[in-house]
Amino acid sequence: MPRSPLVALLVALGAARTLAAQGVLIAPHAIYIDHARRSGTVTLYNPNAAPAEVSISTAFGYPITDSLGHFALRTVERPDSTLPSAAAWVQAFPRRLTIAPLERQTVRLLVTPPAGLPDGEYWARLIISARGGTLPVGVAGDTAAVRVQLNLVVNTNIGLSYRKGPLATGVTLSKLRARVVRDSVEVWSRLERRETAAYVGTVRAAVVDATGKVRSTLNAPIAVYFVMEPRYALSVTGLAPGAYWVRYELVTEREDLDPAVVLQAAAVRDSVQVRLP
């Protein structure tokens, strides 16, 4: 069978069948639960044309950076008492559910911390696993005797913070450095969280020329749980050779989060010079 009819067949099958679900949308994308309430909710939306089978689980982990400055998630299967894990206390109701097409469902998160829990912030990761995407399609051929089916599972992993008592946050910025890599300036820094809660904010960086004019900018959300050394790249395409300053700051502002959950701290800033060839 020539290729075009096969493609046409595939498209026709896709149009005719009720196709299986794949993935769900999740809000909010970071969950904060206060000790006074000990509960929270997360809303799941199935945008697909078929029911989505969803399961919810928890784990312990927090963002770090690797040797290249890339973000990664450090997970600890059995966190000891030195790690502020809330993973074992968080239960989702329901834990397994089926969401009808184009429907929302609210999942309640109940937290049962141990008695005598000290004030502080405790972390977990919420893993929403959506199973679907099963579309059996006959194999076109002389006999069509082979049928194949790929199943799809999408795991979405988001952060959860449990807060007890008065909390504060802050971050120290050190070792700011920059270098030119092709058409970008790579900026590195060392960020170390201070106080009792993760630092949640935004990194703002700018390349500024000798006249003070901003020539390139970057805004990126960040969460510093312990220590990290992230790397960011600012485009310097088309900029004339010469000396520039890279301005770099962290502020406790997040457009994507409820302001009520963003702990405030003083901005930290630094700058470093870089020369474009």
């Binding site: 498209v11 993935g23 949308l25 082979v146 790929l150 795991n155 952060g159 805004n219 990126a220």
Partner: protein, 147 residues
């Protein structure tokens, strides 16, 4: 039994927004292996897999595929699937013509310039010339970690 051609398909409906700040992964188009070529490149607009991601601008997320090496069929029969170092692509603009290639066999760190981005996936199906008749299944798992 000879299987000269195969189709493997996952097809998905387009995503709709969830009110407020949300995040997630939805599919637009499944990965299909039509015709005798059995090789689908990630820039193939008709047959590559497409996964839409939703997040906040500037956010980063790690994408990790768990890919099947084979699909399992009747009486233990298998059909090979191969994913190469150039078989996945990330597009911050959701354009299939503007992808940054990555190896779907290793984690990839994606940065969002807007609210939405797409991942494209290609691959190769290798049915043997004497592929046993029956049903073959496999599972692709995509894990998205939002930082």
């Amino acid at each position: 039994m000879r299987v000269p051609e195969s189709i493997i398909s996952l097809c998905f409906a387009a995503s709709l927004p969830l009110a407020g700040q949300s995040t997630g992964v939805t599919g637009v188009r499944g990965l299909a292996f039509p015709g005798v070529s059995r090789v689908v490149v990630r820039t193939d607009a008709a047959n590559s897999g497409q996964f839409d991601l939703k997040a906040h601008p500037g956010a980063t997320a790690s994408l990790t595929f768990l890919l099947p090496a084979v699909m399992t069929g009747p009486a233990g029969a298998t059909m090979t699937l191969v994913f190469g170092a150039n078989d996945a692509g990330f597009s911050a603009s959701q354009s299939i013509n503007s992808q940054v290639a990555f190896d779907p066999r290793t984690p990839y760190l994606a940065t969002f310039s807007g609210n939405r981005a797409s991942v494209f996936l290609g691959g190769t199906a290798n049915p043997s010339t004497a592929q046993r008749a029956g049903n073959y299944t496999g599972t692709i798992t995509l894990t998205v970690v939002f930082f």
